[in-house]
Amino acid sequence: MLRYVAHRLLLGLVSLLLLSMMIYAAAQVLPGNPGRLVLGREATPDAVRLFNHRLGVDRPLPVRYGDWLGHAVRGDFGSNYTDGRPVTDDLVPALERSMFLAIYAFLLCIPVSIFAGVTAALRRGRPADRFITVGGLSLAVIPEFVLGAILVTLLGPGFLNLFPGIAGTLEGASLWTKLDSLFLPALALALVLFGYIARMARAGTMEALDADFTRTATLKGLRRRDVLSRHVLRNGLLPTIAVISTQVGYLFGGIVAIEKLFGYPGIGFLTLTAAQIKNFPMLLACVLVLGVVYFIATLTGDLLMAALNPRVRLGDRQ
C-alpha cells in the first residue's frame, strides 16, 4: 500500500512539474513584451527596456523558469504586470471562494447522482432507467452557463424570484446568505456533473449485479436488501469514487463561465480577467493552482480507492 501511494505521488508530481514547464513555455511563446503592454505605445524604447529589465523579462527562458518555479513552490507567484501587487493577494481569497462553491456543488450533486445511478441500474431497461440515463446524459453536455442562464430566468428575480441572480463577493456574509446566493450557480454545476456520475454509478452497479458473487449471495438465501448493501453496492460503487475525483477537473472548468455569469469573483473569474488583460503572472499562477487542486483531488481519489479495494491495499497472493 505504501509503495502504491508513493508511486502515485511521484507520478503526480512529475505531471505537475511538466505542467508548470508547459504553461510557462506557452506563455512565452511569442515575444511577450510587458513593458510595451503596460507603458503603452507612446513610451520610449529605453523606458520599455528598463521596465522589462526590472521585471527580469530579458533573461534566458530556463533561468526565468527556474526563478519562477523556485518562488512558486514557496507560495510567491510574483506580482501583477498591471499594478504590481502580489499575485497571491487576489489569488488566495479567490481560491477560497471557488472552493466553497465547488464543495457546495459536490454536496448537491453526489448523493443525488449516486442514488439516481443505482436506481437506474436496479430498474434496468424500465422507463425510470431510460429517463435517468438519457436525462443525465443530456444534462452533462449542456454548458453550465446555459443551464445557469435558464435557471436564473426561471428561479431568479425575473420570474419566480426564489434566488438572486448575482452573487457578488459575499464578503463577510453569513453562511445562510452564502448558501442562498450561491444556490443557483452550485445547482448549475451540479446538474452538469450529475449525468456523468450517475452513469458511472449505474454502470458499476450493473456490473456488480451481474457478477458471480452476487449470485452466490442470493443463493445463500440472503434478503435482497442485504445482497444489495453488502455485496452489490460495496463493489459496484468503487469505480464511481474514482470518477468523482476526476470530475474536479470538469467542475473547475465550468466554474469559469459560472463565476462570470453570476459575478462571483472566484479563481475562474480571476483567470479570465488575467487572460483578458494579459497579466501573465496571475494567469500562470491560476493555471498552476488549478493543476495542483486537480492533482490533490485525484490523489485523494486514488488513496480512497486503494483503501477500499483489498487487492490494491494488500497486493496479490503471497
Partner: protein, 677 residues
C-alpha cells in the same frame, strides 16, 4: 462406486418432470430445455453430461430459480425434497435457497465477494440461520476444517484474491454444505483447476457427500469426472435427455448414437495415433434454441431413417434403470464410423539431423522486485515429423517454453537451433525463413483471429509474408489450405464471427501451415472446444503431420490427448523437465514420482486403474522455488535430506528415457509396479 440404486425412494431429493425452459432473444422464444424428466434419490449422485448449448447449466439454474431475466420455465415441474420449487415466492424462496439446496459452480474466484474477508462471507451462512457472531465464527472454523483447510484461522482473515483456486473452491464448498442441504448442485466445479488440485477437490466432495447425506447433481462435460463421481448419468443433447442410466452401464453399454459417438471421440484406454484414429461426429452442434426435427439428433446420426425426422422417439427401456431415446437404440453400438480408422505411421528417422535442438533454455521474469524463474534450463531434441508432448500444471513453464521457442518472449539463457542454425532470441531479430519455420496454433480461436479480417485476407497476407506468394498464386494456395483443413469454400469470404469454434480453429491451423513451417507449437489447441469437435481437430493435426512431416510441440493438460498424439513426452514442473522419453515409457512405470501422481489424479472414462496419490499442499510459487529438488515439498516418495539440498540432474536412466530424481530407477520400477493392480 457401488451398483446403481434401481428404485427411487418416495421423496426423491430432486424430481424434474417434463421441464421446458425458453429464452426470449430478440423477440423470439427459443427452447433451450425441451422437456426433460429425471429423478435423484436421497443421497444419490447424478451426473448430467453434454456439450455446449445442451442446456445443462440452464436446467441447473432453474432448480435454484436463478434464470436470467429473459429466461422462463414454460412447462413442467421441479420438486426438491418434496417442495414445489416453481411455486415458491419471496420468503419461501429465500428459505428454500437457504436450507434445502446449495450450488457450487465454476470459477470459485469470482464466486466470492472480493471486498469482504472470507470470515465474513462464511459467517453469513450461519448468521442467516440466527447464529450470533461468536457462534458463527466457531462454526465457520469448523466448516473450513471440514474441507481440509489446514489453518482456518488465518484463512478467515484473508481476502479471496489471496487464496489459490483450489482453496477458494474449498471455501465455496464449505459454505454450500454448511447448511446440510438436501441437494447439492455442482456445475463444472473443477474445470480450470490443475489436475492434482482437481483430484483433491473431487475426493473431498465425495467424502462430504457421504458425511452430510446430500444428494448431488453433478454437471460436467468431462466423462471421466462423471464416472468418478456419479452413480447415475444422464446425457443431454440440444436440451433433451437422450440417454440415462447407471454410469458404468452407460459408459460400457451405451444405447444411443450420440453417447456412442461421444465415447468414440475420446482417446480411451491408452489409444495412440499409430494404433487407431479417433472417430468424429459429423455435422455441427445445433445453435441454442434452434428449431429441430422430431428426433433432435437426426441431422448428425448415421442410423437415421425417415421415421426419425417425423416421429419423436419415446424413451425405450434398455433395462429397468437404463433408457434411451432412439428408435434404433439396439443398433447404436453398430454405428458406422464417421472417420475411417486409418492409423498413421510414425516412423521417425533418428539418424537424420534433428529438426530442433533446445539447449538449457531459461527465462527469468522480473515482477514487483521479485525474480520469477519461469523456465530453469530445458534441453530437448526433436526430429522431423515428431510430436513432443508437454505436460504440466500451472507454473510448470510450458507456455513460457513455447513462447521463448518462438521468440515472442526473449530467453534469458540457452539456445534454440532449427535445422542446425541457431535462432536469435528475439523474434524481431530472426530472418524471414526462421520466422516461417516456427508457427503456433493458439488455445483460444476467438482471440487468435482478427475479428475484422476475412479468412481469405488472413491467409493471403500470411502467404505473402511467409511464403512470398502473392496475387493469383496466393488465391490458389489459399483455396488449397482451406481444403486441407476441410473447410467449405465459402469459409474464405467469412469473418470469424460467422464461424463456429471448430471452424475458427481450422482457420488458425490453415494459417499456421501457410508458410510451410517445420515446427508448429500447439498450445492447448482443443481445450476451448467441445469433445466432438476436438476429435476432428486432432485428426486434422495428425493427418497434416503425416503428409507434411511437420513436427509438433503439443501442449495440453489433457493426458489422454497428449498420449494419443505424442511420440515423446516431457513432464514439466516449475520450469524444469522432470521426465523426458517416449510416450509409452513415460506413461508406464518406472516414471518420475510427479508423473506418477499426475497420472493417478486424472479421472478417466475407464475408471481407476491405480491408487490415487494425493499430493500435499499447493504448487509452490515460481518466485520462491523450493531448495534442492523443487518437487520435494510435495513428493510422496521423498527420500530425505538429499532431496532437500541437492537438485538432481536430468539423467538418462534408461535408453532414451531421462529423469530428474534421486531415487534409483530400479527402485522406482519396483515400487511403482507394485502399486499398479
Amino acid at each position: 462406486m457401488s451398483a446403481a440404486v434401481a428404485i427411487v425412494p418416495a421423496t426423491a431429493a430432486l424430481s424434474i418432470q417434463d421441464l421446458e425452459i425458453v429464452y426470449r432473444v430478440r423477440g423470439h422464444d427459443r427452447e433451450v430445455v425441451r422437456g426433460i424428466s429425471l429423478e435423484i434419490g436421497k443421497q444419490q449422485s447424478y451426473g448430467l453430461v453434454g456439450e455446449s448449448g445442451c442446456g445443462k447449466s440452464t436446467a441447473a439454474l432453474s432448480i435454484v430459480r436463478y434464470l436470467p431475466r429473459n429466461g422462463a420455465v414454460s412447462r413442467g415441474s421441479i420438486q426438491v425434497a418434496g417442495t414445489d420449487v416453481l411455486a415458491l415466492r419471496g420468503e419461501s424462496l429465500r428459505r428454500y435457497r437457504r436450507d434445502v439446496v446449495s450450488m457450487v459452480y465454476q470459477n470459485p474466484g469470482s464466486a466470492l465477494n472480493p471486498a469482504l474477508r472470507i470470515g465474513r462471507q462464511v459467517a453469513e451462512v450461519f448468521t442467516l440461520r440466527g447464529a450470533g457472531r461468536s457462534e458463527a465464527r466457531d462454526r465457520s472454523l469448523a466448516a473450513l476444517r471440514e474441507v481440509n483447510i489446514a489453518d482456518p484461522d488465518s484463512v478467515l482473515k484473508r481476502y479471496p484474491h489471496q487464496l489459490s483456486g483450489g482453496m477458494q473452491q474449498r471455501v465455496v464448498i464449505a459454505m454450500a454444505l454448511a447448511t446440510n442441504p438436501s441437494l447439492l448442485i455442482l456445475d463444472e466445479p473443477t474445470t480450470g483447476l490443475d489436475a492434482t488440485v482437481e483430484a483433491e477437490v473431487l475426493e473431498l466432495i465425495s467424502v462430504l457427500q457421504q458425511k452430510h447425506s446430500t444428494a448431488v447433481l453433478f454437471i460436467s462435460h468431462n466423462l471421466g469426472v462423471i464416472r468418478k463421481m456419479c452413480e447415475r448419468v444422464g446425457v443431454l443433447y440440444a436440451g433433451e435427455l437422450v440417454e440415462e442410466g447407471p454410469t458404468e452401464e452407460i459408459l460400457g453399454n451405451p444405447h444411443h448414437p450420440y453417447t456412442v459417438g461421444l465415447l468414440r471421440c475420446l482417446p480411451r484406454g491408452g489409444l495412440r495415433k499409430d494404433r487407431g484414429k479417433l472417430d468424429t461426429i459429423p455435422g455441427f452442434l445445433p445453435p441454442i434454441g434452434a428449431d429441430l426435427p422430431a428426433c433432435v439428433y437426426v441431422n448428425r446420426c448415421a442410423l437415421a431413417q425417415d421415421i426419425c425426422a417425423t416421429e419423436k422417439p419415446p424413451d425405450f427401456r434398455v433395462r429397468a434403470d437404463h433408457f434411451s431415446r432412439c428408435h434404433f437404440h439396439d443398433k447404436a453400438q453398430e454405428l458406422p464410423r464417421a472417420t475411417e480408422n486409418v492409423p498413421v505411421s510414425t516412423a521417425i528417422d533418428r539418424g537424420a539431423q534433428p529438426l530442433l535442438k533446445v539447449d538449457g533454455l531459461a527465462k527469468t521474469f522480473r515482477q514487483d522486485g521479485h525474480d520469477i524463474q519461469a523456465l530453469a534450463g530445458v534441453t530437448a531434441v526433436l526430429w522431423p515429423g515428431e510430436t513432443l508432448g508437454l505436460v504440466g500444471e500451472s507454473g510448470s513453464g510450458k507456455t513460457t517454453f513455447a513462447r521463448t521457442l518462438l521468440g515472442i518472449v526473449e530467453s534469458s539463457e540457452g539456445s534454440v537451433e532449427v535445422d542446425g542454425r541457431e535462432l536469435a532470441a528475439k523474434l524481431s531479430d530472426r530472418s524471414a525463413a526462421d520466422v516461417a519455420a516456427l508457427q503456433i496454433v493458439f488455445q483460444n480461436p476467438d482471440s487468435a483471429l482478427n475479428r475484422r479480417h476475412t479468412v481469405r485476407r488472413m491467409l493471403k497476407r500470411t502467404l505473402s509474408k511467409l511464403a512470398g506468394v502473392g496475387g493469383g498464386a496466393a488465391d490458389v494456395r489459399a483455396q488449397e489450405l482451406v481444403d486441407a483443413v476441410r473447410l467449405p469454400e465459402r469459409a474464405l469470404s467469412a469473418r470469424p464471427t460467422g464461424l463456429s469454434g471448430g471452424q475458427k480453429q481450422r482457420v488458425a491451423i490453415a494459417r499456421a501451415f501457410a508458410g510451410e513451417p517445420r515446427l508448429v507449437v500447439c498450445d492447448e489447441p482443443t481445450s476451448a472446444l467441445d469433445v466432438s469437435v476436438q476429435a476432428a481437430i486432432l485428426n486434422l493435426l495428425v493427418d497434416l503431420q503425416e503428409s507434411k512431416r511437420t513436427s509438433y510441440v503439443f501442449i495440453s493438460h489433457d493426458l489422454g490427448v497428449v498420449r494419443y498424439l505424442s511420440d515423446r513426452i516431457a513432464v514439466l514442473y516449475l520450469g524444469r523437465v522432470m521426465e523426458l522419453g517416449p510416450a509409452e515409457t513415460v506413461f508406464g512405470p518406472p516414471h518420475h514420482p510427479y508423473t506418477e501422481a499426475l497420472l493417478s489424479a486424472v479421472p478417466t472414462v475407464e475408471g481407476e486403474q491405480r491408487q490415487r496419490i494425493a499430493l500435499q499442499g499447493d504448487i509452490p510459487s515460481a518466485a520462491d522455488p523450493p531448495t534442492g529438488c523443487v518437487f520435494h515439498t510435495r513428493c510422496p516418495r521423498f527420500l530425505g535430506e538429499i532431496c532437500k539440498s541437492i537438485e538432481p540432474p536430468l539423467v538418462e536412466v534408461e535408453p532414451d528415457h531421462a529423469m530428474r530424481c534421486h531415487i534409483p530407477v530400479e527402485d522406482l520400477r519396483r515400487l511403482q509396479s507394485a502399486a499398479t493392480p
